[in-house]
Amino acid sequence: MKYKDFLRKDKMPHIWCPGCGHGMVLSSFLRALAKREYHPDKVAVISGIGCSSRASGYLNFNTLHTTHGRAIPFATGIKMAKPELKVVVLTGDGDSAAIGGNHLIHAARRNIELTVIVFNNNIYGMTSGQYSPLTPHMRLATTAPYGNIDYPFDLVKLAEGAGASFVARGATAQPRHLEKIIGQGLDHNGFSLIEVITQCPTYFGRKNRMGSAVDMLQWQRDNTSTTGKEGKIPLGIFVQEERPEYCANYHHLVKTVAEGKGSE
């Protein structure tokens, strides 16, 4: 199947603003998926609430649009009940790292096989431009009219600190690289987190005078590096570790108990 065949054509065009990077993340994700042999019936895409979380509605899989911040535990329930499904979480920086931060770190800790793709536009897009836990220090937002005094998470470090076995970061300005790392995340037998730097020209861009989507992509090119250049935001895979996956562990426990070998 070609990647565009995964779209629900009758729902297109999508609601995202002109130049919004969310569509670019989605397209990289779908290309990565198309290269692999998942049957659409065996893919479930779960999202929370936010512009980014609207992504699930455009995908012709089993799709679930949940409550704000809770996509991961919903996905966990689905995955544990039907481990044969490929379960992907599409979420925003607010959805995953603000209200949903706890679920993110706990899923990482458990090493449950979920592919979590964070659409990081450094802002709450859906609610019109408040700062998020990934808004850089002193940037502007509707709730930070004098500059954001918070310090942002480094989501890669946070996931790593939580014990994630696969952690990567891509950017919409690098769609091929992005497709590649999302693909590796999908292949990973365990929890994987892919942070994607994406642009919200409507709010983050406008508030911070970053110009058009084209300019924002240029900013990305100027300020990120896939080769670890000093002073740039690093892109790439930062953790890739094989360790027992949660569903597998559970399955093993079930077998042990069935064989009467469980400790009392």
């Binding site: 699930s56 509605g57 649009h65 809770r70 991961i72 535990p73 996905a75 966990t76 039907k82 079930v254």
Partner: protein, 373 residues
Amino acid sequence: MSKRLIQGNEACVEGALAAGARFFAGYPITPSTEIAELMAEKLPALGGVFMQMEDEIASIAAIIGASIAGTKAMTATSGPGFSLMQENLGFAAMTEVPIVVVNVTRGGPSTGTPTKPSQGDFMQARWGCHGDHPIIVLAPSSVQEVYNLTITAFNMSEKYMVPVVLLYDEVVGHLREGVELKGTAEIINRDFPLVPPENYRPYATGDGLIPKLAPFGSGYRYHMSGLSHDETGFPTGNPATIENLVVRLQDKIEKNRQDIIKYKAIDVEDAEVIFLAYGSPLRSALQVQKQARARGEKVGLIQLLTLWPFPHELLTETFARNNADFIIPELSLGQLADEASKSVPRDKITRVNRNDGALITPAQLEQALKGVR
């Protein structure tokens, strides 16, 4: 069949497993914790899933997810955790995903008195989450009823595609009684769609009111959302569609009140005084009612097994017929009595309330009975 001596919380687990529950996600909290502990022990042997989540929000999210994947699923908690579950309880109501949520109630408000019984969550069980939403709440008073009503909870949940709350107080949860674990209980499973995937519209209920939601992964690909949605499951801004949805969610419960509302009426026909109760106060009422009848007094008893939807027609009719006085004992400030006052005039209701963590005793109710007669 021989009876087993088990705790209320254990009966809940047995009932859930008998009803076909194969997924439990929870977070420990007194006085519900035994349910999680027993599930942790029993589910693996049945190939089912037990998960301890990071909190109650994740717990209810996980069981909704599991149910969407086609597995009957349950969580158990108490007041503070139940409060945290409200948002996602509303999500299950809106998306029509069957789940069972057990709330073993303890003294409130807030952390309150965690090891003592209370019935202070009566109204919350109905109205705890935002927006008009459908819900069913069942309330056992004995260990046998915990077992039976847990099965009923799953059945109603699958039949009406709605979250069902099982509400019982700490005393019911922890007492041990002989219970018949009948293997014969009728088990209801949600309907599977009849149309082929191409024609499937998950929320198209046709003449009926209940959608047929195919489990994720079963070949029916569709979208579910907590946003107001149309029959296809996709978000809509169309006013008529939204109105229809909200009203249908209500109607699927309201139009099936007959089937959903369960209660026991004892010696009510000629009663001049009627006890109205559920949970542990019901047990005291039962004793006093029996004793009063034995003394020849025209005293009856209505035990509520379904709390919500609330049986107003029953109370209205009963009152219209008997013009009886009602005695309503509660481990709360009077939430049940307040609700009943929609159908029974306030001055015909005698309230017996207790909020100190102790039970309402038969002696207290004898007293109340004397006050009325």
